[in-house]
């Protein structure tokens, strides 16, 4: 039986969540180059090896202290549904502005993988991002550069999110075992 995982895509508006969603699931979710395209959550399935990954595309949000309906949907999902892994999609060309939400998701202690999307545009603008340092600064969160429109980095993203989920699972198991023994 395939192992099942639930993964949520969060991030600022117009960072490329739906494009990554489509690259992961092979769906043809409507994607538009304007913010606020996705106003409700959408789900799709991605198979990878032994895994069946349920991908949830959330509306874009700037923070978890929700002001608008889309932001409420995104926040409530992260807080209540507790997905196995959260992918924070960051627009690499606008890195700083996107880190506010990343920190908030980290503060929820959700297992996180960062997709540094549109890294080709950032590179074209002459931005060179030190991935290792960024990951280190955020507390060793896996950071994967992606170009979702060209499906670059998607396999690596899937591998990283599986390893984060596995780590979480084994930690929980050993925690439970520890409780039983103690």
């Amino acid at each position: 039986m395939p192992k099942q995982l639930t993964v949520a895509l969060a991030g600022n508006p117009n960072a490329g969540k739906s494009t990554i969603f489509n690259a992961l699931t092979g769906a043809r979710q409507h994607v538009g180059n304007w913010p606020g395209k996705t106003v409700e959550k959408k789900e799709g399935l991605c198979r990878y090896g032994d895994y069946e990954i349920n991908v949830v595309d959330l509306p874009g949000t700037y923070s978890l202290s929700a002001y608008s309906l889309e932001e409420v949907i995104a926040r409530d999902y992260l807080l209540e549904a507790k997905p196995d892994v959260v992918i924070d999609v960051i627009d690499a060309a606008n890195l700083e502005r996107n880190l506010y939400l990343a920190i908030q998701i980290l503060e929820l202690e959700s297992p996180l993988v960062i997709a540094l999307n549109m890294s080709d545009i950032a590179a074209a603008r002459g931005l060179r991002i030190n991935i290792a340092k960024l990951s280190e600064g955020l507390g060793r969160v896996p950071v994967v550069p992606t170009v979702a429109t060209k499906k670059q980095g998607i396999d690596e993203l899937i591998r990283q999110l599986i390893s984060v989920a596995e780590l979480r699972y084994s930690e929980e198991k050993s925690y439970r075992r520890g409780k039983k023994d103690g």
Binding site: N12, N14, P35, Y62, S63, S65, Y67, D91, A93, N94, E96, R97, Y100, L101, I121, R125
Partner: protein
């Protein structure tokens, strides 16, 4: 230094301060509007909401909020205009 609501369309400015309560400061920080943030005003002085551009990202901002944001002119290439 001048309120953002006075900036003409097309100018690039740098945010100096937000004169407002905690609520507005938090919300603006979430949107990336913190002191030091540099952006272009696509649609500025006049009536109705403002449109700001951070690279490819655009933000719409109500005029009431823009009244509380103080900015200075900013020229690309590190050279600043005299506008203080």
């Amino acid at each position: 230094m001048m309120p953002l609501s006075m900036v003409a369309s097309g100018e690039t400015v740098r945010l100096i301060a937000v004169r407002g309560g905690r609520g507005i400061c938090f919300r603006l920080a979430e949107l990336g509007l913190v002191p030091g943030a540099t952006f272009q005003v696509i649609q500025g002085s006049g009536q109705g909401p403002l449109i700001l551009a951070f690279g490819e990202t655009r933000l719409a901002l109500g005029r009431g909020m823009a009244h509380k944001i103080y900015v200075e002119s900013f020229m690309r290439g590190g050279q600043e205009c005299q506008n203080n």
